[in-house]
């Protein structure tokens, strides 16, 4: 366990932060005996700044999301955590007046490279949103197949849809009503449908922005269990307001405040012995 103070997060550019490997014996990453099924890719953010017009929302942060691990982004509303993840798959620039500076690497590929196809970036870095957003006029089957068709994937669509629904833990619940509309499902099922749609196109990374905050506790639990399965195939970045959710699902946790990365470490360390007093105050509920 490290009690050493971290360098101040304000200075830029800063070294890219990674949690110390094996900071605590028996950490979550070590405890997970299940084996990785397919190698996800790591994401590295270097000196990332994000603007809304002239307002600087993310003030130059650097961190590395390890492959096949779950990294949680926590922090109070407006701290910039959602903005960071939206920069990773280039969603941020879709907002009028918004722009990003700095580097985002997917393994050794520059996400903001001049020859990069934005659509291909978003296929490789999938996203699940707070509110389940299935295509309202489409059937359950078509919702999952839509992503495949949009991305021009060939092959057996039926098989891929089944695989994706199984991967999202939804197959048994919907296999007999695939032709029914997706919006007829419960909120939790709709969210898993969106996850199935996301994984159908075989991304490398899945970003989840508050994926369970609109769901009931049982549906939340299912999503959290699913995250543990998904990380065997993908790299997961999860933005959450729910600190207990971060504690339950994430291998590593990044704490942001006012557009800065305050602390990034093994989740266990963040919740038992954080280095920065601001992290301590936030996780113990002294502000926020």
């Amino acid at each position: 366990m490290s009690a050493e103070p971290r360098e101040d997060a304000v200075r830029a550019p800063q070294p890219v932060r990674s949690p110390q490997p094996g900071a605590i014996a028996g950490s979550r990453a070590e405890r997970s005996a299940r084996e990785v099924i397919s190698e996800g890719r790591s994401v590295e953010v270097r000196d990332l700044k994000a603007f809304y017009g002239d307002a600087l929302a993310v003030k130059g942060i650097s961190l590395r999301y390890a492959a096949n691990q779950v990294t949680a982004m926590i922090g109070p509303s407006g701290c910039g955590k959602s903005t960071v993840v939206r920069c990773i798959n280039r969603m941020h620039e879709e907002i009028p007046g918004a722009r990003a500076e700095g580097t985002v690497m997917l393994d050794d590929a520059d996400v903001y490279g001049s020859d990069v196809d934005v659509v291909s970036v978003r296929r490789q870095i999938g996203m699940v949103f707070q509110k389940p957003n299935p295509f309202p006029t489409m059937s359950i089957f078509d919702n999952v197949a839509a992503g495949l068709r949009l991305s021009g994937r060939k092959g057996d669509v039926k098989e891929r849809v089944e695989q994706s629904l199984r991967g999202a833990g939804l197959w048994d619940e919907v296999k007999d009503r695939l032709a029914q509309p997706g919006i007829g499902l419960s909120g939790g099922q709709q969210q898993r449908l969106c996850i199935a749609r996301t994984i159908a196109v075989e991304p490398e990374v899945i970003i989840m922005d508050e994926p369970a905050s609109a769901l009931d506790p049982i549906s939340t639990l299912k999503i959290e269990e699913l995250v543990a399965e998904l990380k065997l195939r993908y790299t997961i970045i999860i933005v959450t307001h729910n600190m207990q959710q971060a504690a339950r699902v994430a291998d590593n946790t990044a704490f942001m405040l006012d557009g800065e990365l305050v602390e990034f470490d093994d989740t266990n360390t963040i919740f038992t012995n954080p280095s920065d007093s601001r992290t301590e105050d936030y996780v113990t509920g002294k502000f926020g």
Partner: protein, 228 residues
């Protein structure tokens, strides 16, 4: 970012739980005083009060343990709050053990009887141990309240002296002579000495919890397997 009062209710509850657990240490100090007085005065009645009064310490243990379980279940404390809660669980267990050691001492008094064949030198060692143990226990509480690692670490120094005196009691018992009554008395006093020595160890253990709360790192102040 809203800087509010945060989890005020929870913080009050946690503080209350800490005071309840550390109040358990006060109970031990009072019990230890009575125990040592009973020993000094050969007061078997007072010793019997010590034995019966242990229910209060046991009751405190149960209250604090229940409070900790509720707090864990309902408030999900993390970081330094979590460390305090975990440490309090240890503290209250040590309180309960120290109470039991006082009972062990008190139960020896009727065994040795009203007119035991005393050895003044051996008793002197034991009374000094008793005073040191009392001081250690009180200091452990202060260290916890103040979150003062230096005060906690100082317990080790005092505990070494208790251990040294315990060995003196042992040597004296070995050389007590051939008289059967005297030997029986010495053996009983050896058990008393051992109980006091254990109380000192428990106080040091509480000190280790103080260091854990402050630093987030658990370490033994002294390694019992290596200290002579």
């Amino acid at each position: 970012m809203a800087m509010g009062t945060g989890r005020q209710h929870f913080q009050e509850e946690l503080r209350g739980l800490e005071l309840q657990a550390l109040g358990g240490i006060d109970l031990v100090v009072a019990t230890l005083d009575r125990t040592l007085e009973a020993l000094e005065q050969q007061d078997i009645e007072l010793a019997s009060i010590v034995v019966h009064d242990d229910d209060r310490i046991d009751g405190r243990y149960l209250e604090v343990q229940q409070g900790i379980l509720s707090l864990l279940a309902l408030q999900a404390p993390v970081a330094s709050d979590l460390r305090v809660v975990a440490a309090l669980l240890h503290v209250i267990k040590h309180v309960e053990r120290m109470g039991d050691q006082c009972v062990n001492i008190a139960k020896m008094l009727p065994v040795v009887g009203y007119e035991p064949p005393k050895d003044e030198a051996m008793l002197e060692y034991i009374f000094r141990m008793g005073r040191l143990a009392r001081s250690e226990v009180a200091q452990a509480k202060q260290a916890f309240l103040l979150r003062d690692v230096a005060v906690a670490e100082d317990l080790v120094r005092q505990d070494h002296e208790i251990n040294r005196l315990n060995r003196c009691v042992f040597s004296r018992a070995v050389e007590i002579g051939t008289d059967a009554d005297r030997r029986e008395w010495a053996m009983s006093m050896m058990l008393v000495s051992r109980a006091i020595e254990r109380i000192g160890d428990n106080a040091v253990d509480i000190g280790e919890q103080v260091a854990f709360v402050v630093t987030g790192e658990f370490r033994e102040f002294s390694d019992a397997s290596r200290v002579p």
